[in-house]
Symmetry: C2
Subunit: 339 residues, 2 copies
């Protein structure tokens, strides 16, 4: 029997069609494979093919924009927004617009062209997480930024135009609607219960276990109760933490481990699917609060057609999260990757 | 210079990247072509291959579920929701769910397998519009339905699994989030201004003309100010009308004409793209009100990858609506199709 389920934070209803439940093998997938053909601006010795680097991790003292880096952050060559713009706001009759001020950066996760993020070492992934942290702190100094969106498109089907593993960052002078809604929903719950809704979700999911995928000292990975997409996963810090950039060193270590574990599980269960991940965090000005809880949402791109969903704003998910969690929980990952 | 633009109804900001503006030919499209190969359950003499019809237009007095019809409405063979379900609502700890009560119907728009909706006569399209009307009225009798979502997926890339031209209807016991948000935004504007925001938009777009695509006696077709997708189009009745099903006969005639004109323009400018359309209408219980204005949104599926958008909930549109409107306005359509 199909079910209608409501996301407790945003109030979004989704249809979970338990009837025609889809298992991992039922999806027509495009396997993401690193081909390595063609010129790659993200590889060693091609540093001049990107705009000059904003920062890099270099342990060998090498000069900026030369080889020797282990991670590199550069402006997007085709930025959606520009820091050189002003914040000029303008009306156009009843409409509102502003100049496209903002930052659009690319985090090149390692010099190794052939490695996906799932194949990087926990230590390398930790560096990526530190790069996110460092960039948020730097952008935060400029009070014009209200929100930093951190995300990854992995595979062409998920929107990646280059295969060399990278994440992206968009710094915005406005708070995107999705973030506003989540914060508002979490606030409402806090006003009613005096508890963080995500902390309550973590407690319930830990107790029932049906949607739990893995956990380690500091993090849980769950399939959310009302997922929009098959095999959607959320990674949340166990302790209450409202903003990503306020995590502690040991939390980034633990996050790197569980993230690697989840990406390996995805590759294993769904045969190297394309995916997106997005970090959901508090707006910069509300960095430390009691109501919002940062987390990462990972969405494998399994259905070739997302037409219905983006057309109607209404989601039908053919895989119950309890089944998705079971497959992901039972996937074989090395014990060295905690979680 | 890129721009950030705000949708005045929902408050959603989008990035319009005027810098790297994309023209019709810049998109990698999959042209939608009717192949006609394989067995089609929507063709004459295959009536038994669909669930028994809910209604049909038959001018020849032919029996139900036999040939002779000009339009046929059948339950979806693989429904996302079922009318046989109860409305049983249940908590699961802090989560809310209900049984998958609802209707999922398919409107087979004509017996002709080889004709897309754009190729149907205005009269045939009018019949499709009447079928939407008739089905909404019928479902409305059952007070468990709160909202009826009417949409079309045209082409595989937009989610169509069968090529024979059809639309779909999902009757819901809840109001989808997207509809709630639009109604709330329109209400807020009405409380502030005592005017319908869509009526104001129509007036402003008619005066400035830059985003106007076409108009006839009863409808306007515009490119919205803050579109999520390249070449997105909105069709709105000129007179204030809150619910689709409350339109008058002459309005359906005029709507059929402008809809055909818009679909022909799309085919012309973008070379038969896949597209989705969705009718946005008031919730059933608020059928007649001063604040909401029904309309249709048409979204061609031009980018192969919508990954970024559904991942982040944040939209980047590479085609300014003013340019899209210009291309669509100047497209060659026969004078017989008013608008």
């Amino acid at each position: 029997m199909p079910e209608l389920r409501k996301d407790p934070v945003t109030g979004r209803w989704v249809i979970i069609s338990t009837d025609r439940a889809k298992r991992p093998n039922d999806f027509v997938r495009e396997k993401v494979e690193i081909r390595g053909s063609g010129f790659c601006p993200f590889c060693y010795n091609h540093e001049s093919k990107t705009p000059p680097e904003i920062m890099a991790y270099r342990s060998d003292g090498s000069a900026p924009n030369t080889p020797g880096w282990s991670l590199r952050v550069v402006p997007n060559k085709f930025p959606a927004l520009r820091v050189e713009s002003s914040l000029y706001r303008q009306g156009e009759g009843l409409f509102d617009k502003m100049e496209g001020f903002g930052a659009h950066e690319v985090i090149i996760e390692s010099p190794e062209h052939s490695k996906t993020m799932a194949m990087l070492s926990p230590r390398q992934i930790e560096d990526v997480l530190w790069a996110f942290h460092d960039r948020i702190f730097d952008l935060k100094k400029d009070r014009r930024f209200k929100y930093v969106l951190i995300f990854k498109n992995h595979g062409e089907a998920a929107g990646a135009s280059l295969e060399h593993s990278h994440s992206q960052l968009i710094g915005l002078p406005i708070i995107p609607k999705r973030a506003l809604e989540e914060v508002a929903g979490a606030k409402e719950y806090f006003e009613y219960k005096d508890r963080c809704i995500y902390c309550d979700i973590i407690q319930q999911e830990t107790e029932t276990g049906v949607r739990m995928i893995a956990e380690n000292q500091a993090f849980v990975a769950i399939a959310p109760f009302a997922p929009r997409f098959p095999f959607e996963m959320w990674l949340l810090p166990k302790g209450h933490q409202s903003a990503y950039e306020q995590s502690l060193k040991h939390e980034y270590e633990q996050f790197a481990l569980i993230l690697k574990s989840m990406l390996m599980r995805l590759d294993h269960v769904l045969e190297q699917p394309a995916y997106n991940f997005v970090i959901h965090s508090s707006p910069l000005a509300e960095g430390s609060n009691d109501y919002y809880h940062w987390h990462m949402e990972i969405m494998p791109k399994l259905t070739k057609v997302a037409g219905f969903e983006w057309g109607t704003g209404f989601y039908i998910n053919p895989t119950p999260p309890e089944e998705a969690a079971k497959f992901l929980r039972e996937a074989d990952v090395p014990a060295s990757v905690v979680g």
